[in-house]
């Protein structure tokens, strides 16, 4: 019984630690990205629903768009909480500022999507989906690609040193 309690405690504790780890945050980011991918796909597929009227399709689009806005907001909040150490780039103020601005702009886009969905102005949705894709691409190009390049450089140095 004591062993079981001890095991449970360790398991719970390790769960908490994992939850807070950068890997766990990356996983959460990936899951939310997959949610976005799914929602955008569902919006694209609404037009093929042959039994629904055009207004019913708009109702479906609105529901998906509101979910999309919510997911993007959560994503932006997660990004704003990322510490400078987790960025894996040169820790200068400029980089951190750029990263935070991506998160803020993402959040603003999410609010716009929510507004146009609530007012059924769904013809404006594509431009904000565009905007979000561009921001995500730019952010990844700046930080994820840099991280990869840094890592590649480190490996090169390591190989050179070991030779």
């Amino acid at each position: 019984m004591i062993k079981l309690l001890l095991f449970s405690t360790i398991l719970l504790y390790s769960g908490c630690v994992v939850k807070e780890s950068p890997q766990c945050k990356a996983k959460e980011h990936m899951i939310k990205s997959e949610d976005l991918q799914h929602l955008i796909h569902e919006i694209d597929m609404v037009v093929y629903d042959k039994y629904k009227s055009e207004l019913q399709r708009d109702n479906k689009r609105q529901r998906y768009a509101l979910n999309l806005a919510q997911t993007i907001k959560e994503l932006a909040v997660d990004l704003e909480a990322v510490s400078p150490q987790e960025l894996h780039v040169t820790q200068n103020a400029e980089n951190i500022k750029i990263f935070k601005s991506f998160a803020e702009e993402l959040s603003a886009d999410a609010q716009q999507i929510q507004n146009i969905a609530q007012n059924y102005e769904l013809e404006n949705l594509p431009q904000y989906l565009d905007s979000i894709q561009n921001r995500c691409n730019a952010c990844h190009a700046t930080f994820r690609d840099n991280r990869k390049n840094n890592s590649r450089d480190n490996n090169k140095n390591f190989n050179r040193d070991t030779k």
């Binding site: 796909h41 694209d44 037009v47 042959k50 039994y51 629904k52 055009e54 207004l55 894709q133 561009n134």
Partner: protein, 412 residues
């Protein structure tokens, strides 16, 4: 509306260049582009033409659809129209092509203090044909939807709340398809993952008379009442609908011309449950089950009557049970297939129907469908489907039908 204030905006495909840029990236690790768009197809919403004033936006859109059908024997893919073996002397394998299922719609949106008022008129060309295949192939315009939505209210003609909320991704209908479009007044309330509808809809009694003809007494006094609960969890969507109907005849006229001198009524009810459950990646399972006493015209395009009426005018309601299930699989980002089976049956009251008329009374029907659908461009669909259906009638006769359908569709 002042002409000077009208701005004509023609929506164009905006995102092709974006996608080209995104996917031209040689970086092999998962990029955010892959994460977010998830598709080489551009992010789309809809196209169409929009006329905008300060207050109202009017949009025009529609669908061009070409159906090409081979059927053995020739018939309609409805539970009540599958040719019986003994009557199937018609054409076998004749190629029929048609664009009459093309559609045109006009919608408006006007902001008010109660939220936007949205209105829609939608038509197709499945109305009375005025041309033949020989020359013009003309087809009549037909009203599909004409309704307005403001706040939680829907007023006008549109899809019944009893219809299957989740439907199969097939070209032809499931054999048990629950589908009615009619005038209605509906109150809807939407929450984040839940929604409900209460709908008062046009009644129409359908009864099987002693000559095995389905008659409509035209004596309806109370609307059909439908309540529906919709649920939008992360794993898909689901709905449960309940219907209550007042089935009535008041000195109705039977199909043989007999004028009844009595009245009768009965209470019909039914339930319809449909759901879509996400499975692996983008795949999903979809199903729909309905059961009721007096469902009648709400299933299988009026192939079964709500009840029977005898020569004394007595109504006896009939129970119906139907369902379908289908699995949709995505082969890649543009190609997908659905494999589906469906079934419908009604327990007919046959006491007062002559044996010689039993071949007019549908007992049950089943179908299987398999397709391959391709999305080559945004809003476009090309597909091929094989359908097989079997019908049983109360005389013991059976009908079989095989059909290959080729579909080309573009929504604009």
């Amino acid at each position: 509306m002042k002409p000077s204030t009208i701005i004509l905006v023609v929506t164009t495909p905006l995102l092709l260049s974006l996608c080209t840029t995104l996917f031209a990236n040689s970086y092999s690790a998962p990029s955010v582009t892959d994460d977010v768009s998830g598709s080489k197809a551009p992010v789309t919403l809809q196209s169409g033409i929009k006329l905008t004033t300060k207050e109202t936006q009017l949009s025009i859109g529609g669908r061009i659809q070409l159906h090409s059908i081979y059927a053995w024997p020739e018939g309609a893919f409805y539970a009540g129209k599958i040719p019986l073996e003994k009557n199937s002397a018609g054409e076998h394998g004749q190629l029929l092509m048609s664009a009459k299922d093309s559609r045109l719609w006009v919608k408006t949106r006007t902001p008010t203090k109660y939220g936007p008022i949205r209105a829609l008129i939608e038509t197709d060309f499945l109305g009375t044909a005025s041309g033949t295949e020989t020359n013009t192939n003309s087809h009549g315009l037909r009203l599909r939807h004409a309704y307005v939505q403001v706040g939680s209210l829907t007023l006008g003609q549109t899809n019944s709340a009893f219809n299957a909320y989740v439907t199969l991704d097939t070209i032809s209908f499931a054999i048990n398809h629950t589908f009615v479009r009619q005038p209605l007044i509906r109150y809807s309330k939407e929450y984040k993952t839940l929604a409900y509808d209460i709908s008062l809809e046009q009644p129409e009694t359908t009864l099987l008379d002693t000559s095995a003809a389905i008659i409509t007494p035209k004596d309806d006094a109370a609307p059909d009442i439908i309540t529906r609960l919709r649920y939008y969890p992360s794993w898909g969507e689901a709905s449960v609908a309940l219907i209550g109907r007042y089935i009535i005849q008041d000195k109705a006229t039977l199909s043989d011309g007999t004028q009844l001198t009595s009245s009768d009524a009965a209470f019909g009810w039914g339930t319809n449950i449909s759901a879509k459950i996400s499975t692996y990646k983008r795949d999903d399972i979809r199903f729909d089950v309905q059961y009721g006493v007096g469902l009648g015209r709400y299933t299988s395009f009026n192939s079964f009557a709500a009840g029977t009426i005898d020569n004394r005018g007595t109504i006896k309601l009939q129970s119906s049970l139907g369902g379908h299930i289908g699995y949709r699989h995505w082969w890649n980002k543009e190609l997908h297939s659905t494999l589906a089976i469906s079934y419908i049956e009604t327990k007919n009251n046959l006491q007062n129907i002559a044996i010689s008329n039993l071949d007019k009374v549908n007992k049950n029907a089943s179908s299987a469908q398999l397709n391959l659908l391709w999305i080559p461009l945004k809003n476009a669909l090309v597909g091929i489907e094989y359908d097989k259906a079997i019908r049983h009638v109360e005389s013991g006769d059976i009908g079989y039908m095989d059909m290959v359908v080729l579909l080309m569709r573009y929504d604009f």
